[in-house]
């Protein structure tokens, strides 16, 4: 073994490039040359010593960088950064791939600064889009420039353009939002969400349109809204207060209107249904007789309410609510129906409470929870 090979192996060891065989080879070599020990020790120490970096220079440079972005009219929602709000940064679940997160400061929103459109596939710099988003496990309340108030549930995103309020009030929703829209008959408020479009004049209602959910739900609390389904643009569904519109997200289904639609005021013109239609149902919202609340909007009051929902549906909602991933490994229990409310419970307390109704075991590692019998 030559000296040259020793130096190749030793530098590979320092830099973490050496294989197991190379390390073993180096070890025997070092043992045969105890006189090298001093140099080896010093070089190892020297290698570990980091050249001092100056974080202040980095901070200053970042300020300059932001300033430059502003000058170039390139900016993002919150220019000052929110170091205090970076919880869950390491979450990489694909579930949330396009359900944006992080609560955006209201100030940035009202300032009409120019943003990037979340759909960046076009590579185009769309400078006029405002975006409010929440990460899993958090909620946000925002006021739009027209005074309308939107509560965004966990893992949701609301976007609107700079032209908001000029002629119409257009917003796009991914996820779940409760809207309390100010009255302005001259400027209709239009929400695009998943496969539906909702036109409102002034009202309060909830829209649940998570991309990973099977259904898009619209629950009307008061006022009146007009809903159009994407693949049936000519049909307008008028919702009356206390009604909930459920639209199946799979478009390929050949289906007639759900039976429950019969009970409604007949706003769906059955005769005009196209051959390929979407499963649509209008249900009555169920008020809790005790306090006349509606389960669909209880999240606004910080309550996770489920009434007669399957364990797998509840698990999906808990994932968003607690920012966790839940895998139910036993198909036998995923269909069990559940009714309940979580308010201040931690995820562990919630799971323990569920165990009262369903016999299961769970394992929690980080934010992953595995449920089995």
């Amino acid at each position: 073994m030559s000296q040259e090979q020793f130096w190749v192996l030793f530098s590979k060891k320092l830099t973490g490039e050496a294989s197991a065989e190379e390390l073993a080879l180096l070890e025997t070599l070092i043992q045969a040359h105890p006189e090298w020990q001093y140099a080896i020790q010093n070089l190892e120490d020297l290698w570990k010593t980091k050249a001092a970096t100056d974080p202040i220079t980095g901070e200053d440079a970042y300020m300059l960088h932001l300033h430059r972005m502003t000058e170039m009219q390139i900016s993002f929602d919150d220019i000052t950064g929110r170091s205090g709000n970076s919880v869950g940064k390491e979450k990489r679940s694909r579930r949330w791939y396009w359900v944006a997160a992080s609560v955006v400061l209201l100030a940035g929103l009202l300032a009409f600064s120019s943003f990037y459109l979340f759909n960046r596939k076009t590579e185009e710099v769309a400078q006029h889009v405002n975006e409010i988003s929440t990460r899993p496990g958090s909620k946000s309340k925002v006021q739009l420039p027209d005074g309308s108030v939107v509560w965004l549930n966990a893992g949701s995103k609301l976007t609107y353009t700079k032209d908001f309020g000029k002629e119409t009030r257009d917003v796009t929703l991914i996820g779940e939002g409760f809207f309390d829209v100010t009255k302005n008959p001259g400027k209709p408020f239009i929400i695009s969400a998943a496969n539906i479009k909702i036109k409102v004049l002034g009202t309060a209602f909830n829209v649940k349109a998570y991309p990973e959910d099977k259904q898009t739900e619209t629950s009307l609390i008061r006022g009146s809204i007009e809903v159009t389904i994407r693949n049936r643009p000519n049909d307008k569904i008028i919702l009356s207060p206390s009604e909930k519109l459920v639209v199946e997200n799979s478009e390929a289904k050949v289906e007639q209107v759900d039976k429950s639609a019969d009970k409604t005021t007949g706003n769906i013109k059955r005769t005009e249904l196209p051959v390929i239609s979407t499963l649509v149902a209008i249900n009555k919202l169920k008020y809790n007789p005790a306090d006349s609340t509606v389960a669909e909007v209880q999240w606004v009051n910080n309550k996770l309410v489920f009434r007669d929902e399957s364990f797998s549906e509840v698990a999906v909602r808990m994932e968003r609510w607690y920012d966790v991933q839940i895998a139910i490994e036993d198909p036998g229990i995923s269909d069990v129906r559940l009714t309940g409310v979580f308010e201040s419970e931690t995820i562990i307390q919630a799971l323990e409470a569920l165990k009262e109704s369903i016999a299961f075991q769970y394992e929690k590692a980080g934010n992953r929870i595995i449920i089995h019998r």
Binding site: Q3, E4, W7, V8, F10, S11, K12, L14, T15, E17, E35, Y38, A39, N42, L43, D45, L46, W47, T49, K50, A51, A52, T53, D54, P55, T57, G58, E59, A61, Y62, L64, H65, R68, M69, M72, I74, F76, D77, G81, R82, N85, S86, G88, K89, E90, K91, R92, W96, Y97, A100, A101, S102, Y116, R120, K121, E123, V125, E131, S133, R135
Partner: protein, 197 residues
């Protein structure tokens, strides 16, 4: 030393959750190194600063694409290199496309002797050894030691074979090791001298 995993996590946070604190963290993590790297080619502090800023604008614009990159560190250095070359050719300045013409600053010479059990003389020798590394050896040493790139990434960035990177790193370490061998010899001489007296 920045490595790919934490950078990947930050890029994921930026892309998936529009996390601007992650964006800032990434900027601060890489700014100094990328600026020095750009400076070695552009030889202008102002332009290097601009280049890093441009690069990070690109990061925000392309954030959705950056999550699938296997080696983000290599991506950052390659982008910086290409952007620097583009700047030079736009200004009709000579493009010094050979890394041997780069002006490489090494920070490793500014280590703190107090942390290491070494004598002043040895420190001086090490500094000199680092400062007199041949140009190619110098840039490779910097990219591995100070910038945290793997051999493979350095090879790709500088368009060299991995064997070359390996050999150049061995040269750098051997030169540093020599400073310490000398120390051993001196120690031996000193002990002998003490014995004699």
């Amino acid at each position: 030393m920045p490595e790919n995993d934490p950078i990947k996590r930050l890029l994921a946070a930026i892309a998936f959750t529009n996390d601007q604190s992650a964006y800032k963290e990434l900027f601060i993590l890489l700014h100094g190194r990328l600026k020095q790297f750009a400076y070695s080619i552009l030889k202008s502090h102002e332009e290097s600063e601009e280049l890093v800023s441009d690069l990070f604008i690109k990061v925000w614009q392309k954030k959705d694409q950056l999550t699938t990159i296997e080696s983000p560190l290599l991506y950052f250095y390659t982008s910086a290199k290409n952007m620097a070359y583009n700047r030079l050719s736009k200004q009709k300045r000579q493009v010094n496309s050979s890394p041997e013409e780069w002006l490489v600053q090494l920070n490793s010479v500014y280590f703190d002797p107090e942390q290491l059990m070494m004598t002043e003389e040895m420190m001086r020798q090490i500094r000199q050894a680092i400062n007199t590394l041949p140009p190619r050896c110098r840039i490779i040493f910097k990219l591995v030691k100070e910038d945290g790139l793997k051999y493979k990434e350095v090879a790709e960035l500088l368009q060299l074979s991995i064997k070359t990177v390996e050999a150049q790193m061995a040269i750098a370490l051997r030169r540093l090791g020599k400073c310490m061998e000398l120390e051993i010899n001196q120690l031996n001489i000193n002990t002998q001298a003490t014995k004699k007296s």
